[in-house]
Structures are given as structure tokens and as C-alpha cells.
């Protein structure tokens, strides 16, 4: 029996666990994994598991950017739209090159240049977000809600423009040429994994990119000054500012990084399914926020980890796949995610209460 005066073992354990913001998402992940393993046919197959990881990895690339932003106390609801713009830039440059006023400025098929330009454009969209938030002082939730709509409009306009040479019902830009080697680097099959079973798995290079982004982000957040400043900016911005932390610079960089990662995710996705439509990435901004919050990042910032957000994204993708395989109506997916989100936030709050 616990006495009233000294903390019980239970409370001590809780206090110890509270040092690790990933606890809730990790336990939830394991529990859900076990449940789906027992209830969903073929859930444990190589194809199913590699599909989960590959699909989670594509979104996970920008989830990491959103996670850094949320730790610094800000949101980016425009990632889905940024992803679409980035993918359109890449797709148009690959298929048509760059034509301005009837002159072919860039020939089609310059894969590497297309990649760089797509990343630059999406990073610039991130910069716009950052400048709006820092200069105007309005909440990033509102600012990026605005740019979410604006960037989506840009994506639609690009799909409809001279540049895209779309006709008829189009807006869809397809890459019809022969896939350059860069496509394999971006999102080719990982055959050393896929050949491990029959039917073959669906592991793709996106997983490698995701792992690289996670590892770099973890190192930056733990071992560099920038990481410390990100936590400080979200933890208590006035105090950070008073101690000489350049919080505005941190925020702008975080928005730029998030924009660039959204662009990268768009290009990676395009490399395996070379067609882009104006609705690409719609709703993903909320998936990203959900992944971060389930992963233990506080909405008000200052607390949480990259690893938590990464596990959060894997968990969401696993639930989607698991529900499909378990034969549950996919319409219930969002309801389930909503429920998990609420339970996770309550658990995280309970755990960190001191």
C-alpha cells in the first residue's frame, strides 16, 4: 500500500516515464501492432508491413519538419499544399521543361535540376510562411491556414497553365518519358528487402530518405545549438529572447526546413507514381499534426521529440492499413484516428503532470 506521504512506486515510475515523451506513442504502437496481428489477415505479411513503412515514410519526411516547428511552438498547415506545388514544379520540368513565351528555356528531363528547383520553390514557400508569422505576429495556425489555401491555388494554377500544357479534363501532369536513374534513387524498390518473401514486399527508397531525415533531425535537436534554441523558442519565447536566443531566426529556418521537406516528400512520391493532380496532399497537414501530437509533442511547444513524431506517423499508417486488412469500413479510419489522438493527448498530459 502506498502511504499518503511518500510517493508510491507507481508514482515514481510515472515520474521516471515522464522524462520520455515517446512512452505513450511507443506503448500504443506496440499494443495496436499486437491487436492488428491477431485480428487482421495478412497484416504480418512482408507486403503489408513494407507498405505501411513506405507510405508512412513519404509523409514522415515532412512530419519531421512539422515536428520541429511544433516544438518551436508553431504550426504549418500549408505542408500539403507546399508538397503539391513542389511536385508540380518537378513534374512540369521533367515532362515539358521550362517554356516561357514560346521559348524553351530548359529542356525536359533534367532530373537533378528539376529536383533542386522543386526544393528551392518549396523552401521559398516555407520562407513566406516564416516571414508572415514573424513579421506580422499573427498566429501561425491562421497564417498557414491562409497560405494552405493560397499555395493550393498556386498548385491548381500550375496544373492549368501554359507551363503544364494540360488539356481537356487534365490538370494532371504525367511523366511519360523513360524514368531517369534519379527516380530510382528517390523512390526505387528496395529489392534486398522485397525479395525476402512471397509475395514480394513494397519497400521503397522513401524509407531510406525518411531514416536519413529522422537521424539528421535527432542529431540537430539533441547535439547542436540550433536544437537547443528550437526547444527554448517553444518552451518560453520571452525568456529565450531575453537570454539572447534569436527566436525569429529559429522560426524562419524551421518554416524553410518544413517547406523544403514537404517539397522533398512530393518529389519522392512522384518518383514512384509519376503523375500529379491538384488534390495531392490534401488533408496531410492534419495527419502531420496528429502524428506529432500522438508522438508526444505539446501543442504549445517546447516539449516532445523527433522520434516520437516518427513513431506517431508509423502508428497512423499502421492503423489505416490494419483497418483495411481487418475488413473494417475505411470510413471508420478518421474516427479511429480521432479517438487515438484524444486518448494519446490525455495520456501524455497525465504522464507529464507533476
Amino acid at each position: 500500500m502506498a502511504s499518503a506521504t511518500s510517493p508510491s512506486n507507481f508514482q515514481k515510475t510515472r515520474a521516471r516515464l515522464a522524462n520520455y515523451s515517446e512512452v505513450v506513442v511507443l506503448i500504443s504502437f506496440i499494443l495496436l501492432f499486437i491487436i492488428f496481428s491477431l485480428t487482421a489477415d495478412n497484416f504480418l505479411s512482408l507486403l503489408s508491413l513494407t507498405n505501411i513503412v513506405t507510405l508512412a515514410a513519404i509523409k514522415g519526411i515532412f512530419v519531421i519538419g512539422v515536428a520541429m516547428l511544433m516544438i518551436s511552438g508553431e504550426f504549418d498547415l500549408s505542408v500539403g499544399s507546399t508538397l503539391a506545388v513542389g511536385a508540380y514544379v518537378f513534374a512540369i520540368l521533367m515532362e515539358h521543361g521550362f517554356v516561357l513565351g514560346g521559348t524553351q528555356i530548359l529542356p525536359p528531363g533534367l532530373a537533378f535540376l528539376a529536383l533542386i528547383l522543386a526544393l528551392i520553390v518549396s523552401a521559398l514557400l516555407g520562407l513566406i510562411n516564416g516571414l508572415i508569422v514573424v513579421r506580422s505576429g499573427i498566429p501561425s495556425f491562421i497564417a498557414t491556414l491562409g497560405t494552405m489555401l493560397a499555395f493550393r491555388g498556386i498548385a491548381r494554377a500550375m496544373g492549368n497553365s501554359e507551363l503544364a500544357k494540360t488539356s481537356g479534363n487534365a490538370d494532371v501532369v504525367r511523366f511519360t518519358g523513360e524514368a531517369p536513374p534519379l527516380f530510382n534513387v528517390l523512390n526505387g524498390d528496395l529489392n534486398f528487402i522485397n525479395d525476402l518473401g512471397t509475395p514480394a514486399g513494397g519497400a521503397r527508397m522513401a524509407i531510406i530518405w525518411f531514416v536519413i531525415v529522422v537521424v539528421v533531425a535527432v542529431i540537430v535537436m539533441r547535439f547542436t545549438r540550433y536544437g537547443s534554441w528550437v526547444y527554448a523558442t517553444g518552451g518560453n519565447r520571452m525568456a529565450a529572447l531575453a537570454q539572447g536566443v534569436r527566436t525569429n531566426r529559429v522560426l524562419i529556418w524551421n518554416f524553410v526546413i518544413t517547406g523544403a521537406l514537404a517539397g522533398l516528400a512530393g518529389v519522392v512520391q512522384f518518383a514512384s507514381r509519376p503523375a500529379i493532380d491538384p488534390a495531392r496532399g490534401e488533408g496531410w497537414e492534419l495527419i502531420a499534426v496528429a502524428a506529432c501530437v500522438i508522438g508526444g509533442i505539446w501543442l504549445q511547444g517546447g516539449y516532445g521529440t523527433i522520434i516520437g513524431a516518427a513513431i506517431g506517423m508509423l502508428l497512423l499508417q499502421m492503423v489505416e492499413q490494419g483497418l483495411i486488412l481487418a475488413g473494417v469500413d475505411i470510413q471508420l479510419f478518421q474516427a479511429t484516428i480521432g479517438l487515438i489522438l484524444i486518448v494519446a493527448v490525455i495520456s501524455n498530459t497525465w504522464l507529464s503532470r507533476t
Binding site: F223, T224, R225, Y226, Y231, A232, M238, Q243, Y303, T354
Partner: protein, 262 residues
């Protein structure tokens, strides 16, 4: 009485003895005159209490000194030189460390990260500034121990510490980085008696190391324990500066509320 004190301030202690000299400082917010020509002088090595009722202007005065507000008019001489303090960063560059209540620390971050925040020891490799984590944790622990603050681990989160311990981090930090003036804004207002005594000890420790302290407080008791002198502000003006023991506690209370004129 005021004249006597000011004479002491102006004549006996020449510039090299004075760390900060604010002369005829005014601050207007629209039509509100928050400061109406305040003279405020702090000598090196002393603990000065700054007292006044809510809205008397003591916070505004300190915010002018720390760069949060720019004065409407007046002159600030810091360490013998006239200075313009337009931003908190300017104040900090001069060596003015401020510890606002709950505004100086990041509760969710570890002690050492807080201690070195904005002044991290880093190894530059290319454009990346790698934190010297162990070195900072070590220096932080040693530096706090030096003024009598024992912490279990510098990795612990500041949010888990008591109010007094948190103040100690901010005070220890000011001493470690060689501040020339430490400003504490109501450091004891939310603390238990025991915790308050600890904080008063840390203020003494700062003074022993020659660090002048401006100590904003409501509590007449506390100034009797650690302050060498006190300045009373009322309605945007300085009522006067007095040496410790010059007035009774009742006198001070009367001067703060204006129940008695100077």
C-alpha cells in the same frame, strides 16, 4: 533626509564607485506619465531594494534600464559611460542581467541548457555549432556549488525545481558570466519562508562576489535582511533613497503608500 542621501550619492561616491546612474528619466505611454523625472543611482557592491506600490513605476524604471522600454527622456550612465539601451540584448551586452519572475528560465529544459542558453559553449564544425554538453554540465554544476547551490544533476529539468532553486539558477548564471549588475524582479514573492531565506542567501553570495544587485520587492522584511539601501518610488517619482536602518518599517510602509510625505 532625501537631500542627505542624494548628497552622499553624488559627492562621496564618484563615478568609478557608481555602476548605474539614471538621471531625470521620464517615460510616457500615450497620455500616461509612468516615470516623471526619476533619478536612480546604484553603487558597486551594494544591494539596493527598489520599493513601491503596484503601478508606482518601479517596473517601468527597471524595464527602461533593461531595454524593454526606451525612455522618453533622460540619461543613463552605466559603469562611467553614457549608454543607449534600446533592446534587452543591449542591456545584456553591457553586463546587466535581469531575472524576471518565471521569465528567465525554460522549465522544460535541463539546468545546464538553461544556464548556458544564448551563450552555449560550442565546437564549430563547418556551419554547425555542436554543443559541448559535458563541459557545460560540469561548469554549471561547479559554478552553482561555488555559491552554495547543490544540484543533484545538471541534466534535471528546471521545471522540477522549487521556486527558490530556480532563482538560484538565474543568480548563479549571472555570477558565472561576470555580470556587472543583477536585477531581481520580485524574486521572493511566490516563495515559502524557507525558500525565501535561501534566495536571500544567494543574494548575499552575489554581493560577496562584488556583484551589485537591484532587488525589487514589496516585502519590507526582506529589505531589512539583505539590502544596504532602498529607493522608494511613488506615482512615477522617486520619494528618496535611504540607507539601511535610517527608517523604521512603519516609515517605509507609509512612504510607499503616501500616508506620509517625505
Amino acid at each position: 533626509m532625501e537631500q542627505v542621501a542624494e548628497k552622499i550619492g553624488n559627492d562621496l561616491f564618484k563615478d568609478e564607485q557608481v555602476i548605474v546612474d539614471m538621471q531625470n528619466v521620464t517615460k510616457r505611454f500615450g497620455t500616461v506619465e509612468a516615470l516623471r523625472g526619476v533619478d536612480f543611482q546604484v553603487r558597486k557592491g551594494e544591494v539596493r531594494a527598489l520599493m513601491g506600490d503596484n503601478g508606482a513605476g518601479k517596473s517601468t524604471l527597471i524595464k527602461v534600464l533593461t531595454g524593454v522600454h526606451t525612455p522618453t527622456s533622460g540619461k543613463i550612465i552605466f559603469d562611467g559611460e553614457e549608454v543607449q539601451i534600446n533592446a534587452p540584448a543591449d542591456a545584456r551586452a553591457l553586463g546587466i542581467e535581469t531575472c524576471y519572475q518565471d521569465l528567465a528560465l525554460i522549465p522544460l529544459m535541463s539546468i545546464w541548457r538553461n544556464f548556458f542558453l544564448g551563450r552555449e559553449l560550442v565546437t564549430n564544425i563547418g556551419p554547425i555549432k555542436w554543443l559541448q554538453r559535458q563541459e557545460m554540465a560540469k561548469q554549471c554544476q561547479e559554478s552553482l556549488l561555488d555559491i552554495g547551490i547543490h544540484i543533484r544533476s545538471a541534466e534535471e529539468k528546471v521545471g522540477k525545481m522549487s521556486g527558490g532553486e530556480r532563482q538560484s539558477i538565474a543568480i548563479g548564471r549571472a555570477i558565472h558570466f561576470g555580470a556587472k549588475l543583477l536585477i531581481l524582479d520580485e524574486p521572493t514573492s511566490a516563495l515559502s519562508v524557507k525558500e525565501t531565506n535561501k534566495v536571500l542567501d544567494y543574494i548575499r553570495a552575489a554581493k560577496e562576489r562584488g556583484l551589485p544587485v537591484i532587488f525589487i520587492t514589496h516585502n519590507v522584511n526582506h529589505i531589512y535582511q539583505v539590502s544596504d539601501s532602498y529607493t522608494i518610488i511613488r506615482q512615477g517619482q522617486s520619494v528618496g533613497t535611504y540607507m539601511k536602518g535610517e527608517l523604521t518599517q512603519q516609515d517605509i510602509a507609509d512612504l510607499i503608500t503616501g500616508a506620509r510625505e517625505k
